[in-house]
């Protein structure tokens, strides 16, 4: 019995394990056209809107609105709120109204082809307020710092709720090369004539205010928690250097309290559109709706959501988020420097390069030469550098507080 030198451990290995994920073109299958219903009724007193459209093929662009439908919501006491089409596929209630506690509401749609769609009666859930909204900076999975906008809800005594969030974010940006003056075209036909004038007040003072709405479905729940309080729930992630949070940023957060079936519906939408595990694949399928077609077997897409809503707006300055880290503007200074150009008013062909450039460029300044050649009196810079109106209007929105 002997255990001799078994330390001949010797190995040599070449190994490349590649787990490969790549995109591919979705091949088109038999086209189907199903009604898509986006209907949200809240406790907010307003003219509620409902959107109707049709499903499209996967490679299609744009939306096919469902026109000329008859849309109404009725409550359990048989009060009917009729809707009228204000735009293709967009229906607004004729009167303003709000969903009330302990009442059930039913959506009815009769499409132009005579098909009838009816929702199950939905009840308004209880209300919960937003306590606060704040920003923290954390590293993401890739080790990059991110600003995370989080919210707490006001703790309520109820059993636990289902929450959905939407937001509109508005951010102040600065044009890197803003001038108070601009070029005014006196004549755009020969003889070309230009002059420098002061910008009017509606051109702003070099800042713009962009606004974007949330695109993904943001859900959370407190049912599994010991109290009904949404705590430090992240609603928005922004890379720390992003210009969105470069100067001042505002978020208008809408918190919806949902019924369980509504929550389940959104949950499945999320689950099917954002698979998080590359090793296993969720069984996908059509998500059952609470709206049923009178034509049996017809798929109905969408949901009739009855929810309570709370809204809150907050502002953050760059210094509130990160006092020491600079942000990257939407366009870099070097790009702007590279875009500088000193065009001729009239060239040898009798055309005006200056006039042509004014669609993409704006006034930057005068040449430093004390005696500039008369044909090249101005220096231009790319429009995105001199203005920021492609991002948003240059004037403060009404809600904006500096």
């Amino acid at each position: 019995m002997k255990l001799k030198k078994n330390n001949l451990w010797f190995y040599f290995t070449i190994l490349v394990l590649t787990s490969c994920v790549e995109t591919f073109e979705i091949e088109d299958t038999t086209p189907e056209s199903n009604l898509v219903i986006e209907a949200i009724l809240t406790d907010e007193l307003k003219n509620h809107t409902i959107k109707l459209s049709r499903t499209t093929t996967i490679d299609a662009t744009g939306i096919i609105p469902e026109k000329n439908a008859s849309v109404s919501i009725s409550d359990e006491s048989s009060t009917v709120y009729d809707f009228q089409e204000i735009e293709d596929g967009i229906f607004r209630s004729i009167s303003s109204f709000s969903a009330e506690l302990n009442k059930t509401y039913t959506l009815t749609i009769i499409t132009n082809d005579g098909n009838k769609y009816t929702s199950t009666p939905e009840k308004l859930p209880s209300k919960s307020d937003i306590e606060n909204i704040f920003i923290t900076v954390e590293e993401n999975d890739l080790g990059e710092p991110e600003a995370i906008i989080k919210t707490n809800s006001v703790s309520s005594n109820s059993e636990g709720q289902y929450y959905r969030y939407e937001y509109d974010e508005t951010f102040k940006v600065r044009a890197p090369v803003w001038r108070t003056k601009k070029i005014n075209i006196i004549s755009d036909t020969p003889p070309y004539q230009f002059e420098i004038i002061n910008k009017p007040p509606e051109d702003g003072i070099g800042f713009c205010y962009g606004t974007k709405s949330s695109k993904n479905i943001i859900l959370t729940e407190t049912k599994t928690l010991s109290q009904d309080k949404v705590l430090e729930f992240p609603v928005r992630y922004i890379p720390i250097e992003n210009y969105l949070i470069g100067i001042r940023y505002s978020i208008f957060l809408k918190q919806y309290v949902l019924n369980k079936n509504t929550y389940d519906y959104y949950q499945l939408l999320n689950k099917f559109s954002d698979p998080d595990d590359i090793f296993s694949q969720t069984q996908v399928g059509n998500i059952p709706s609470n709206i049923i077609s009178s034509r049996s077997g017809e798929k109905v897409i969408g949901f009739f959501e009855v929810s309570t809503i709370t809204q809150k707006r907050v502002f953050f300055n760059r210094s509130d988020i990160t006092p020491d880290k600079d942000y990257t503007n939407y366009v870099s200074v070097s790009e702007c420097t590279n875009s500088l150009i000193q065009p001729q008013i009239v060239n040898s062909l009798g055309q005006s390069p200056l006039l042509n450039l004014l669609s993409t460029h704006v006034f930057q300044g005068f040449p430093e030469d004390p005696n500039p050649p008369p044909n090249i009196p101005y220096i231009l810079v790319a429009r995105v550098c001199g203005e920021c109106t492609h991002i948003g209007p240059p004037l403060k929105p009404d809600f904006w507080i500096d």
Binding site: T55, I278, Q283, P288
Partner: protein
């Protein structure tokens, strides 16, 4: 010894003329104690070696007898002789007679005294057999058994011969032989194909015993053809049994350097896997949960590591794997589709041996430790990944922060008490840990203990009493410092099984197997506990489930005549769902959900709240058209009371098992099969065609997007439906020659029907549709070519129809984002799967006396670099739908593995 011989020589010529009489009372004393007693009571002094004396006790009273009478009595049935010197000294000898004089003539026959030339026999120690008697015969009988040195099993057909004298015999089926040899010196040799021959020089003094234990030729490269089994393919009554021996898979190309017995199984036409990175196998269109994996009779719930890339069965300690895919013998139950019966090697009780292997992913060591020579031994196998660096190599930021590690340990102890009793104990433990999403750590593991007492009552009756306990757990640890949702989730299933399995060889016509089995299931479906200081997760404990499954079984292998055989088996199952439990009662005829809940009935501990009975039958028959051609048919039914819940398209380690209760009915399955089996040139070529049709009742499926983990009302998410699968399988094997291997092809379908009056419980309008593992065409080829004794080349090719998937058929915009609408479930398929692997095996050189035997394997997995899509999924990115396909191994993967035995 030397001392005694010296004394012997000195005293040799002093003889005893007269003996005194002695009285002695011997009461339950062994020989040594008797000698000590004599020494105490008389003046005699004994010379002997302790080890000659056995421990048998004697009770006798001697009154006024001569010392020789006492000694004759004590040493009656032994090979001890004695010699009394000068009324004082008694010299004991083994075998030899001490003669008073060298010239003493013993017998009229005057047999020549044995002469032993010590020089020429220096290699072999001369064995002395029998007690020399003064009265000698010309010939004596030598008998004994021949066993396999490694396994301890008797070997039939070994030739025992004395070359010079041309005397020979062979062993019978118990390894027993009897040979008549002349008195005196003989040289006995053994001869058996594939085994080293053993030579014993012996001096035969009397009838005696000589046992041989012979060992297989070290690393036999030429095939060892054991022809006893040559027609097994054709002759076995039951169709659909495959046996894979661990040794046979050595030459198949490896995945990441791992020799993997379960992966080899997948190359057979009846067994399929969903793909790389998925767990489990589908046998003849059955679900993943319908396979019973037994390791030394204990159940393993998850026999795979690393998300299914490796099997959790240590290839080095495994002796063989038997797979029952057709007619499962009545002694097995509880699963519908198959039994994978994995047996660990028998520990070596003679010699310390070991084997080690080094591959790029894992290291593996296994050793055989004899504990009590010839009686008991221990096998210990340990396997582990080195580190997470495997994943570190992946050029994918999603995976960079991930980690995967696993290990498994197996130990088997076997003790042979005597010819009739032995005890085997196996312990197994495996654990996996992986972290794919960076905040979640998943762990899972099996543990298993099994005891098997084997008893032979007589030549016709034998039995096994088996007690085993298996455990499977998984654990999801989600820690997030900044939200209140950190949690730790635990799942556990435990089963204890007691089984009595008896065999009764009634006659040549009837061979019975019968017994009973009782299994206690205990499931802790999950508990969730807050993790981290800020976590506000409410601790939740889904109530435990408990059930007892009792079975009685009997089967009879009937040989009607040489051509016609039947195997008839019955298994009666009783399933008792036990409390404590809160069973929810729902309205009849409507979908189960919160609003149709009528009430909840509470049952106390061990209350039987639901009973299911089932009579499973296993019928099969074989008819031989001629010696090499046979037809087999079978019809059987099975029940399954435990269900694996999974709403992904492929199996994962965190699938939960759930017991049948008042709301979840047991699964049922029946299969009819027919096959033709043909052997050509002995068993050089084996051909078979098998077809089957299976039906299932109460297969579990789920409503779209069901949440199965930690769901208290899981029955509200479950749909039970019918299933059917059918197919035809071709297998051609070449077992001998330089080129060997097999080709397998199957055409098979696997369908399920989920139909109900209610749309939420209906899938695809209630018609039969393909299951997730329906892969009609499946072809595989495993070929091995030997260039020389040391070099061989092997390839493995697999082709499969792509797995069914649910495809997006359209899109729509909802709340500013695009979403998809889907086709009918499993209406489309992902692209076909094919893969070619190659490997080169290099054996170390074959010096017989070499201490360690080494073996290299160089393999390339997926030589063609085929980017086999493993999954296809769709994601809404910035409001636009994008389609992704993912594959696990998209480039060729070379590996080198080094093995050595010591």
């Amino acid at each position: 010894m030397k001392k005694i011989l010296l004394i012997l020589c000195m005293l040799l010529f002093w003889s005893v003329s007269s003996q005194e009489t002695i009285s002695l009372e011997v009461n339950n004393l062994n020989k040594k104690e008797v000698i000590q007693l004599i020494e105490k009571k008389t003046n005699y002094h004994f010379f002997f070696i302790d080890s000659w004396l056995d421990k048998k006790t004697i009770t006798n009273s001697f009154i006024d007898v001569k010392i020789s009478q006492i000694l004759d009595t004590i040493f009656k049935e032994t090979s001890i002789n004695y010699f009394i010197l000068e009324s004082k000294y008694i010299v004991l000898t083994k075998n030899n007679l001490i003669k008073k004089s060298v010239y003493e003539s013993i017998n009229k026959d005057s047999i020549i005294t044995v002469l032993v030339d010590n020089k020429t026999n220096s290699e072999n120690q001369i064995k002395k057999i029998g007690k020399e008697k003064t009265l000698k015969q010309k010939t004596y009988i030598l008998s004994g058994t021949v066993i396999n040195y490694k396994t301890g099993t008797p070997i039939e057909g070994v030739t025992i011969f004395e070359r010079e004298k041309n005397i020979y015999t062979t062993t019978n089926n118990k390894g027993y032989y009897k040979i008549k040899l002349p008195y005196g010196k003989n040289r006995i040799e053994t001869s058996f194909v594939g085994f080293d021959s053993q030579i014993e020089d012996l001096i035969l003094y009397n009838n005696g015993k000589l046992n041989f234990s012979i060992s297989e030729k070290a690393e036999q490269l030429d095939e060892v053809i054991i022809d006893a089994n040559r027609n097994r393919n054709v002759k076995q009554t039951i169709a659909g049994i495959t046996q894979i021996k661990a040794q046979e898979i050595k030459n198949i190309p490896l995945v990441l350097g791992e020799r993997d017995i379960l992966k080899v199984a997948i190359t057979l036409p009846s067994i399929k896997s969903t793909g790389e990175g998925s767990e489990g196998v589908n046998v003849r269109g059955g679900k993943v949960d319908q396979n019973l994996f037994l390791l030394d009779n204990g159940v393993i719930y998850n026999p795979s590591h690393f998300l299914g890339l490796f099997s959790a069965i240590n290839p080095f300690t495994t002796n063989n794997l038997k797979i029952y895919t057709g007619n499962i013998p009545a002694e097995y139950g509880g699963r519908l589709s198959s039994v994978f019966d994995i047996k660990t090697s028998t520990p070596n009780t003679k010699k310390f041996t070991g084997e080690a292997s080094i591959g790029p992913v894992t290291g593996n060591v296994n050793i055989d430790i004899p504990i009590v020579k010839e009686k008991s031994g221990l096998i210990l196998g340990v396997r582990s990944t080195y580190s997470d660096w495997l994943l570190g190599l992946v050029d994918n930021p999603d995976i960079e922060n991930s980690s995967v590690s696993f290990y498994d340990v197996i130990a088997k102890y076997k003790h042979t008490f005597n010819d009739k009793n032995n005890l085997k104990v196996t312990g197994y433990f495996s654990e996996d840990q992986y972290q794919i999403a960076s905040d979640t750590i998943n762990k899972y593991g099996n543990s298993l203990v099994s005891l098997n007492w084997q008893h032979k009552f007589n030549d016709k009756n034998r039995g096994d009493l088996i007690l085993s306990n298996s455990n499977y757990t998984f654990n999801i640890d989600y820690e997030s410092q900044n939200t209140n949702k950190g949690f730790n989730l635990k799942y556990k299933i435990n089963e204890t099984d007691l089984k009595l399995n008896m065999k009764y060889d009634h006659s040549d016509t009837h061979h019975f197997t019968y017994g009973l089995e009782s299994k206690l299931y205990n499931i802790t479906p999950g508990s969730i506990a807050p993790n981290g200081a800020t976590s506000e997760v409410v601790p939740l404990n889904i109530p435990k489930e408990k059930a007892l499954e009792n079975s009685l079984f009997v089967s009879d292998e009937i040989k009607v005549n040489k051509k016609l055989n039947f195997n008839v088996g019955l298994r009666f199952n009783q399933y008792l769902a036990l409390g404590p439990s809160d069973q929810r009662v729902y309205q009849d005829g409507v979908p189960k959900n919160e609003s149709t809940l009528i009430n909840t009935v509470t049952h106390n501990n061990n209350d039987i709240f639901k009973t299911y009975h089932g009579l499973a039958y296993r019928l099969s028959g074989r008819y031989s058209l001629d010696k090499s051609l046979s037809i087999k048919a079978s019809y059987n039914k099975s029940f399954q009371y435990i269900h694996r819940l999974n709403n992904n398209t492929t199996a994962t380690p965190i699938d939960t098992w759930r017991l049948s209760d008042a709301n979840i009915k047991p699964q049922e399955g029946s299969q009819i099969s027919l096959g033709i089996f043909k052997n050509i040139e002995g068993n050089k070529y084996e051909l078979s065609v098998e077809s089957y049709y299976k039906r299932y009742e109460n297969l579990l499926d789920y409503k779209v997007g069901a949440n199965l983990l930690l769901n208290e009302n899981i029955e509200t998410e479950i749909i039970q439906g019918k299933g059917k699968s059918y197919g035809v399988e071709f297998l051609a094997k070449k077992n001998k020659g330089k080129l060997n291997g097999w080709l397998g092809y199957s055409y098979s379908r696997s369908l399920i029907q989920l139909n109900s009056k209610f749309t939420e419980e209906t899938v695809n309008n209630g018609i039969f549709f393909p299951t997730n593992y329906d892969k009609p065409h499946d072809f595989s080829a495993v070929l091995n070519y030997k260039f020389t004794k040391r070099y061989s080349f092997s390839t493995n090719f697999t082709y499969q129809t792509g797995r069914p998937i649910t495809y997006p058929t359209g899109k729509y915009t909802f709340q500013g984002s695009e979403f998809l609408t889907y086709s009918n479930r499993n209406q489309f398929r992902i692209p076909d799967y094919y893969r070619l692997d190659i490997g080169i095996n290099i054996e170390g050189n074959h010096k017989i006396k070499k201490f360690a035997h080494s073996f290299w394997n160089i393999s390339i997995y997926n030589v063609l670099g085929r980017n086999n899509p493993y999954s296809v999924y769709f994601e809404t990115v910035n409001g636009n739908v994008k389609a992704f396909k993912s594959s696990i191994f998209s480039v060729p993967i070379p590996t080198i593995t080094y093995n050595f035995k010591f």
